[in-house]
Amino acid sequence: MVKNRINKLFENKSENVLTVYFTAGYPELDDTLEILAELEKAGADMVEIGIPYSDPVADGPTIQESNGVALKNGISMQKIFSQLKTMRKKVDIPVVLMGYFNPVLQFGLEEFCKKCKECGVDGVIIPDLPILEYVEQYKDLFDSYDLHNMYLITPQTSEERIRMIDENTSGFIYMVSNSSITGAKKEISEEQLKYFNRIKSMNLNNPRLIGFGISDNKTFKTASEYSSGAIIGSAFIKALKESDKDSIADKVHSFINMVKGEKISQ
């Protein structure tokens, strides 16, 4: 497949890549595109947009709640694609869609890939689509639409399986920082650092990003020492939720500044 924005990002930047996750249709139905555009302006390197689902088993309370609110707001796959239709007029950074398999399956795999390509989506993460099923049934389809499909690895994932995932996927490898669902943890432990080092020394083909439990400047910096960067989700959702007084732009900028350790403007 051709190189897309994800490949180019990692060609140009091998450290401190900041990826931010947020849920489509949250806090308000039509906030999706504005949050995306503000994230780019504030200095995020890549964005992951969550496709809300009624039963998000891999997610902690914060993202679960945002999924529920977004669904109540009336978000749907169709709506997400119509919100993202014009995003490439405003936004240049890579955009990844992350969602559970069932909504994608019901939408139709081919239709999903086609819409992703039309909108300029660069990759997807479908955590509960087994990699063997992906390789056998869907990989050619994804490749034909220039869509990367990224997979997760955890501290429990065997070396053999990591190699298999590395061989069969492109874009980046999503390193789950510890054995857990999404959501902020206190600190990064010694044991986690050992795991980060172990994976680093495997010299994988794909760049690695560390996610789950990354919430602030300290955890972002630590994760970035052992990989190309980090993915932040729950902490950003909390920031979006927190104050109704600030505009979305203010919330996004102050959050990104906090994570990057830059002085808060204003």
Binding site: V57, A58, G60, G68, P103, Q106, P127, Q156, I181
Partner: protein, 394 residues
């Protein structure tokens, strides 16, 4: 090899598999790589069989229901799973899984429960094995099924309310899966039905298969034949049904009948009749039939019976439906309650509301007087007294 057995990848035809995030993969893989060997081990079988006999009270009787038979004009036998310790078939599976968990070196047990029967059966075997037990239960269900909550607590289990989503069985299952993701090494998750990622549907089916194993012997003694004309069971997730169907799946002379909960009616919007209203999709780690919106969001089911109040069915049952091997019948609240009262009056047995659905299915069968029918009386009605009282028409 049976046409209805699971394949190496965990599929029954196009249903099944293990659609799980990577965080669950090691736990499920460990189970997948070990369950057949552990279950096949003679020491395991000896311990399992001894507990089924002395602790659960197996074999459960196969009872010829004379007055019910007269009423419906057929020879009707009841498989008395309601006489199992803890009051339902659920304990067959929890005994099996607790022994397996011990052999895997697990120290802690988690489970989900809807009506509380599986939770009680899990709390029971945890007490028996001396393992720590946490049971996730929808906050709404905890309110509806207070006596079972207290039973679990008396048995030493911690009952954790699932406050996410609709706060019922499907959410309790989600919470249990999340807990397992967070505690991958020392914890075993005892799923209560033939649902979930492979190998759960097959493993639970194997533990419940003792039901039809016994029926074959008992029917041979009673009727001089191993095979009935009909086996009938209710299907929520489908574990009691899988157990009573198992040894008959490859015998096409045995008609397989599955009673689903229609709730307030198949077309009422308040139903749990999955094969009538469901479409293929992924729920709790397996490809199966489930009730969902066109956008792939899981729809909240409804049934008067908390044990049938589930938006999907096990992948084996989806396969039996798809291939036409089983005939699915929808039974609404009203008719299930009537059937429950009828069994109480004709045979002196108050069935669980779940099992009452299976009895109501008799009205939809075209029976001859020589037909031999075996109905799985999967649980007793003690837990449902309040439901009977609220319904009131007796």
């Amino acid at each position: 090899m049976s046409k209805y057995a699971v394949d190496e990848r965990g599929y029954y035809g196009k249903f099944g598999g293990a659609f799980i995030p990577e965080m669950l993969y090691p736990n499920v893989e460990e189970l997948k790589n070990n369950y057949l060997e552990i279950i096949g081990d003679p020491d395991f079988q000896e311990e399992f069989r001894a507990l089924l006999k002395d602790y659960v009270g197996r074999p459960t009787p196969l009872y010829f229901a004379k007055r019910l038979s007269e009423k419906y004009g057929a020879k009707i036998y009841l498989k008395r799973e309601d006489l199992c310790h803890t009051g339902a078939h659920k304990v067959n599976n929890t005994i099996g899984q607790i022994l397996l968990a011990k052999r895997l070196g697990k120290k802690k047990i988690i489970a989900e429960t809807g009506a509380g029967q599986h939770g009680v059966a899990t709390a029971t075997v945890c007490a028996l094995a001396g393992l720590e037990c946490k049971v996730y239960m929808g906050a709404v269900d905890m309110e509806r099924q207070k006596p079972n909550v207290e039973r679990m607590r008396i048995l030493g289990a911690e009952v954790i309310p699932a406050e996410s989503g609709s706060r019922t069985l499907k959410d309790a299952t989600n919470e249990a899966m999340r807990h397992w993701i967070n505690n991958p090494q020392d914890t075993h998750y005892i799923i209560g039905s033939v649902v979930g990622p492979h190998p759960y549907p097959d493993m639970v089916t194997r533990f419940q298969a003792v039901i039809s194993e016994e029926v074959k012997k008992q029917l041979k003694e009673a009727e001089g034949r191993e095979n009935p004309d009909y086996v009938v069971a209710c299907v929520g997730g489908g574990s009691n049904a899988a157990g009573i169907y198992y040894h008959y799946l490859d015998n096409p002379d045995v008609k397989i009948i599955a009673a689903e909960a229609a709730g307030k009616g198949v077309e009422s919007g308040e139903t749990a009749a999955t094969t009538f209203k469901g479409t293929p999709g992924v729920l709790h780690g397996s490809m199966t039939l489930l009730m969902q919106t066109t956008d792939g969001q899981v729809v909240e089911p409804y049934s008067i019976s908390a044990g049938l109040d589930y938006p999907g069915i096990g992948p084996l049952h989806a396969h039996l439906f798809e291939t036409g091997r089983a005939k699915f019948i929808a039974v609404d609240d009203e008719n299930s309650m009537k059937a429950g009262i009828e069994l109480s009056r004709l045979e002196g047995i108050i069935p669980a509301v779940e099992s009452a659905h299976a009895f109501s299915a008799l009205n939809q069968l075209d029976l001859n007087e020589n037909d031999v029918v075996v109905i799985n009386l999967s649980g007793r009605g003690d837990k449902d007294l309040q439901t009977y009282i609220n319904w009131g028409k007796y």
